[in-house]
Amino acid sequence: MSELAIRRGAAPALAVEGLSYAYPRAAGRALEDVSLEVAPGEFVLLAGRSASGKSTLLKAACGLVPHFHGGEIEGEVRVGEIDALETGPGELAAAVGYLAQDPETQVVSTTVAAEIELPLEMRGDAPADRARAVEEVALALAIPHLLERAVDTLSGGELQRVALAAALVTRPRLILLDEPTSQLDPVAGDELIWLLRRLNEEWGVAVLLAEHRLERCLAAADRVVAMESGGVAFDGAPADFLAWAEEADPALTTPAARLFSLAELSPLPVGVRDARQTLRGIGVGHPPHIASRRVPHPYSTAPVLETKGLWVELDRGEDVRDVLRGIDLQLRPGERVALMGRNGAGKSTLLRTAAGLHEPVAGKIEVDSIALLTQTPGDYLVRERVGDELPGDEGMAALRAVGLEHAVDADPRDLSGGERQRLALAIALAGRMEGEQLPGVVALDEPTRGMDHARKGELVALIERLSGSVALVDQEATKATRAAVVVATHDVEFASEFAERVVLLGDGVVIADGPMEEILSGGWYFATEVARVLDLPGVVTPEQGAAALRGEPR
């Protein structure tokens, strides 16, 4: 069939039939008899837990599986009229674009313009055609101002857009995205989803999007495909998906759906707008917004971390920038604090300064003792046996603190993602504990990247243990064992699950600091889905929302 016919939508954008696949030397199959179709111009959301086969399916649709990864494959994959199992990813690039999770590894050129132009150059397109295509796609993605920039000076969100532009510059009819928002702040994440929706509506690009944070994109989707153990467990409309997930896998439902479910309302909403409409329909209006008041901090103990007028500047190659500008902050034992803000707001720099990786240029910072887990826990793991990473009694105490004492003889590579993260934290804790007593501050930098909801639940439990909210392994929590746990995160829903206090940074200054319920119900971007649905001060979780809808006192 001609390219024109494919563009007009004569064939499905993607047709998968009876697809089974095993990676080379893998024990089991990553995909098991998968069949699905994506119609031209359709926006399909791919849901499912980690390792359910979402990424592998996307790779099969763009030709990386099996052409790049090898392995054993059965079934059929067609992109338009092109057989993806016969055709390599290079030839498929004209029909399908692919965007992976980590934007760092998706750029191969030095400047943005060269990166976007590369696929056309590889195809042998004429210079004038390349110039026009680069300009068009840059305008469509609102990045013309980035064209002359070096790729290593871009933020994560900008880099993700550049990678998307390079995937779209050949004008494919199908775009595949593998958790593209996992490293983005709520603002950049929402912008990307709405950008996809616009491309879908205006250019007619079919979208197949794999995501864990469904509340962010469910409303934009036409259809949801849920995967489980390499197979398709559900395929249908977003509203039907929520009803299915409520029964089959509640971890896949959205906060707004959980709110409705707890409040025994129906139908379950696919987004904020949908939820508000339903509430209006049943006569639940919005009470007038009551200005929230600052709640005095409940702790009277001495701070374990204190900064006064903290200024930190970082040299970024060509410019020196003040990343923290006069931060005043106190953390007390047992506090669970979410440190939030846009990419580049200074969250990581604050934690790294507390851990001694950066020197302040002004002000002071005092910290009892801090264990910091950075964004890539794998960086801490350099040996092939857990016990070799953490020898002796101090090592065992640290393993006990994170609940990994049973894994002392395991190879870190055999641990699950969550266990590897806990092991890395134990490595940071080792020797900083006195007996079972934790260091004053335990800091985690973006620990939920790429995590599904179930693993986030495990992390919340660990944070509660470290902060002494629940008993440590075999002893009662006492004030002495409490650590202040501070977590830099973009994940608003996760923050609402573990934090009792939120510190919001903006361009290096603290722009809000208060109880979690107050901060996460007082905005648009840094607000939970339930807060956006109900717009009630102090109501951020489905449980709180359901109680409010039932008229229970808060």
């Binding site: 060269a114 696929p119 390349r130 000076t153 960086d379 350099v382 090592g395 080792a430």
Partner: protein, 318 residues
């Protein structure tokens, strides 16, 4: 963290110039450094490379290269002073050293070492300016018709080097953040971990290249970029520098001997070559094109407050 030598796009003449023009210009300065031993000419070449970098806005790269280059120069001076005992002016007798034998430090050996060190420093600064100001994508695109696959492989390597540098910085930080009770991490495990991480990243980048059509057997695409209006300037300056250096060499401008005693020629030819080479560093200077204001005076097209004020005054007169 960004390397100080990483390319930074700017709107200066050196960045806008075609890779051939920029390489010719900076290469001419390096050629002078290797053609001459006379410290005055070498200092002039160093001034030229430094000026070129500063005028092109590559302040960080120049600073880092000067730091590294002068450290290397100092090392060369010290080694040469210890290893070479030739020369009439003995400054210190350091006695018998293992492997080196009798060590006499002479003024001639120090001056000779200075000459070698300056040469190395000039080359480093010129390379730093090249690295920070010449778009590697354009260089590789220019080379692609000659060796397409090699050029793309070089692109890949040039992309992976900063990524690996960032990985190494992260691993060092993680090693520093290990608790005192965790096993100490030596350099070997860190290097192994970095290598493993780099291989994993290389696989990801290779997958991206596949998706961008690397494996396609398409005819080589023609280059979109045309020559820059600044090219002529850089080619001309390169030709002038090379012509002056060659003529000076023939006229004895490189009159410099260190052994057995120091003889430094500072004749007119040497001074002329040094002046031309030093002034060549002004080539990346961005000069504003001028146009006539209403009163007939010349007004820059772009400029600071004074030019704006003059334009406003001109407008008032009209």
């Amino acid at each position: 963290m960004r390397s100080p030598f990483a390319y930074m796009p700017r709107r200066g003449p050196l960045q806008a110039a075609s890779p051939g023009a920029a390489v010719s210009y900076l290469g001419a300065i390096v050629v002078v450094a290797f053609l001459y031993s006379n410290p005055l000419v070498l200092v002039a070449a160093g001034v030229a490379a430094t000026l070129a970098g500063l005028l092109a806005g590559a302040r960080t790269a120049v600073r880092a290269a000067l730091r590294m280059g002068l450290s290397l120069a100092l090392l060369i001076v010290v080694v040469n002073a210890l290893v070479v005992s030739r020369g009439e002016t003995v400054l210190a007798r350091l006695g018998e050293w293992p492997l080196l034998g009798q060590v006499d430090v002479t003024a001639e050996a120090i001056v000779a070492g200075t000459s070698y060190g300056l040469r190395a420093a000039v080359a480093m600064v010129a390379f730093a300016v090249y690295s920070a100001c010449v778009d590697p994508d354009r260089v590789l695109r220019a080379l692609r018709p000659l060796a397409g696959r090699s050029a793309l492989t070089a692109t890949l390597v040039s992309r992976l080097v900063p990524v690996a540098a960032a990985d190494a910085a992260r691993l060092r930080d993680a090693a520093r953040l290990r608790g005192p009770g965790a096993a100490v991490v030596g350099k070997a495990p860190l290097a192994r971990r970095l290598l493993a991480g780099s291989l994993a990243r290389a696989v990801d980048v290779a997958a991206t290249l596949e998706l961008r059509g690397y494996s396609l057997d398409a005819p080589p695409a023609r280059n979109r970029r045309t020559a820059s209006r600044h090219d002529r300037r850089f080619y001309a300056v390169a030709a002038l520098v090379l012509a002056a250096a060659t003529a000076g060499k023939l006229l004895g401008a490189d009159d410099f001997h260190t052994y057995p005693s120091i003889e430094l020629g500072l004749g007119p030819a040497t001074l002329a070559v040094a002046a031309i080479v030093a002034l060549s560093g002004l080539a990346p200077l961005r000069h504003a094109r001028r146009r006539r204001a209403a009163d007939g005076t010349k007004v820059p097209l772009y400029g600071g407050k004074s030019s704006r004020r003059r334009m406003e005054q001109g407008a008032v007169r009209v």
